[in-house]
Amino acid sequence: MTDILTDDYSVKYDQASNSIICKGAFRLNGVAEYAPIAQLLTDVINQKPAEIILNLKELQFLNSSGINILSKFVIQVRQKGNIPMTVQGSKTIPWQSKSLQNLQKLMPTLKLDLEG
């Protein structure tokens, strides 16, 4: 799986810890520009990991198109039915306290872990 690295953001999959690590600012223009990130997320699901950890602790900004992509990913994981999922975030990044709880509404078994 190829990591994504740009000046503004990065997405990496660490297979050993089943962690997808997102950093920087996701402010891409709509579904088309988010396609590489969406593909990486789908590839992770297709590997049938024992669990999925979405690490957003250093994702400073996310636009609503990005919320759409991460939400769709959570729905895909939910549809698999048997992959436990944790979203890790930070209380010091204000959008995370406001918007990440919506992911739990999509997948009630999702664990939301916001560090202080």
Partner: protein, 194 residues
């Protein structure tokens, strides 16, 4: 149609003389997508200076820090929408942000095709007639089912209303001498307490 108001659009707000306006004129200079985020961050940082650095109840962040991020998110979403949906490149796209007494007032402006007004009015009606939290979840589920055809997720205004607890309204205005294009103003009011 001369003028139409929807949702929480206020015509009677007291105005302050100091404000920031970002203007894009796509015909003279193409809009660079990265400049939208850059502008949003600037506006957030600019207004942060007017907010005290105090602790917010149970969260380890300051009012200024939180307001900066909220302004940046809302300004970014409004500018992204205005650029995406602007109809006539000859007309300006703008975002103006003012600091009021108890709220920040954002007004985005872009042109819209008159023939698209009925569907836009329906979109607005759906937004303001239900619970934004339920609408947001429903919209996310619909987007996941629908695939990737749509140009916009439709989540920007819903997250502004639900996650940021802001009030949203719209004003349509006809342009004299132009029947095929009008102007839409989107107002967002973000309350704060200091």
């Amino acid at each position: 149609m001369e003028q139409k108001i929807f949702g929480d659009y206020r015509l009677d707000l007291p105005t302050t003389k100091q404000y920031i306006t970002i203007v894009f004129a796509p015909l003279s200079l193409p809009v660079k997508w990265s400049n939208i985020g850059l502008s949003a961050d600037f506006i957030g940082q600019y207004f942060e200076a007017y907010f005290p650095e105090k602790e917010v109840s149970d969260r380890d962040i300051t009012t200024g820090h939180e307001i900066k991020h909220s302004i940046s998110y809302i300004a970014n979403e409004l500018m992204e929408n205005a650029v995406k949906f602007n109809q006539d490149k000859a007309l300006e796209i703008s975002l103006r942000v003012r600091l009021g007494f108890e709220e920040l007032i954002f007004v985005a402006c872009n042109s819209v095709a008159t023939e698209k007004l009925p569907s836009f009015e329906k979109f607005i009606h759906d937004l303001i007639s239900g619970d934004p939290g339920e609408l947001l979840i429903r919209r996310i589920e619909e987007n996941a089912r629908a695939g990737s055809s749509s140009k916009a997720s439709g989540l920007g205004l819903l997250t502004i209303m639900n996650d940021y607890k802001a009030k949203v309204g719209w004003k349509f205005e006809a342009i004299p001498g132009k029947s095929e294009v009008g102007v839409v103003y989107t107002m967002v009011r973000l309350g704060f307490s200091t």
